[in-house]
Amino acid sequence: MSTPALKATSLNAVHRKLGAKMVDFGGWDMPVQYSGILDEHRAVRESVGLFDVSHMGEIEITGPEALQLVDYVATNAASKLKDGQAQYSGLLYEHGGFVDDILVHKVRDHSYFICCNASNQEKDFAHIASLNNKFEAEVLFASERYAQLAIQGPKGLATLQNLTQTELAPIKYYHFVDGEVSGVPARIARTGYTGEDGFEIYVDPDDAERLWNEIMAAGSEFGIKPCGLGARNTLRLESKMALYGHEIDASISPLEADLAWIVKFDKDDFVGKQALAKQKADGVKRKLTGFEMTGRGIGRDGYEVLIDGTPSGWVTSGGPSPTLGKNIGLCYLPVEKAKPGQAIHVMIRNQPVDAVTTATPFYKRAK
């Protein structure tokens, strides 16, 4: 059996030159770390880090009924978006499970830009395109036209401001502008997956290497660090941001995943609405909950969770929290147990280890 070749971003050579440890991430050859996950994590919390997230997918939806299509395939209220605003949303199957979680950006009337997960992008595109038969809209798979860089951390704004005429401070969280960075066109969004202030910029892949180097230079006064997927994961876990394949997948609904806020029942029909309405009426049975280890050990992805000796759920993501110095995680539990302060056991190599459920997010940045 031959292994299919890994896909590479336009910055692959840069990562290798920097000595990054590379891993197969959903079919992509991606950097997991450069200087070390703890070091990179700290850089983002305290100053600034730069991530190559060009593996993420981009889908463009245009046409007179672009909004109607977006509002039909995604759970959040796209109609509420103003030009230059972004919104976290869910793509669901009719049964209410996740196809993917996405960011919907309204570029202008009749033009929407979706950022989706790397390993789901072809599936997402096929899913949206298949639902487009009743709308006057065009769905375009645009991933190869974009590289995406994330500049994250309290010094992210100052770093990026060195390279652009666009005034960044007035861009509100989950808003974006189309401008220029280092003289080339860039979509500059104040979004991220770290729980820290920062920006994600979408640029032409041909410009990515030069921009990477210029951002590293512009951030050098702040000690900017290149950051890999390892730190991206510890950062997003502390902030309780969902990761597809862990907290959410085709078998999980947004109501279970503590994402009811992205489901707008008061809008017109959308895919999954009926199933979710029924689930809500019947009562959600299980819910995503935070926990921290009180015994010695690290509860990791997939480990079983027991309550009073009874198998009760599983860990979706778990690991050390560099910021808090604790071992934390997220798990699914029966809804009546999914409240902070519940004693649980995480099965670690066949041994039950003490843990307790906690409020989330584990980390929230000071405003």
Partner: protein, 126 residues
């Protein structure tokens, strides 16, 4: 890089022989592959271990890695320092951050392990 008086396994443990005792650790290659080590799970003294069987684990931020006994015998001492400062495994894997001492019941097993030269070839240029 790899001490000449140590013996090495394909799973990246090392053994230093002191009389009938084998001092066991993980190699510099292993700690580098793992990255930031945040937790070390070791058995209690007195545990009987069998060559090739797992007896503990080392965890980095990202992953869990089993530790395999390079020799058969009884664990007589564990390195308590690692319970509170697991990061020492990243800093000093060949000396201060040894894991356990095993009283060997079959010292000849050592001959089946790799020499430093062989191990260096095994992990390739670093």
């Amino acid at each position: 890089m790899y001490p000449a008086n140590f013996f090495y396994t394909k799973e990246h443990e090392w053994v230093r022989v002191e009389g009938d005792t084998g001092v066991v650790g993980i190699t510099n290659h292993a700690q580098k592959e793992l990255g930031d080590i945040v937790y070390v799970d070791l058995p209690k003294a007195g545990l009987a271990v069998v060559r090739g069987a797992t007896f503990g684990s080392v965890e980095s931020v990202k992953a869990v890695s089993e530790i395999y006994a390079p020799v058969t015998g009884e664990v007589v001492e564990i390195n308590e320092v690692l319970a509170t400062t697991p990061e020492k495994l990243n800093e000093d894997p060949h000396d201060g951050a040894w894991l356990v001492k095993i009283k060997m019941s079959a010292p000849d097993e050592i001959k089946q392990l790799m020499t430093a030269e062989d191990y260096q070839k095994y992990v390739g240029a670093e």
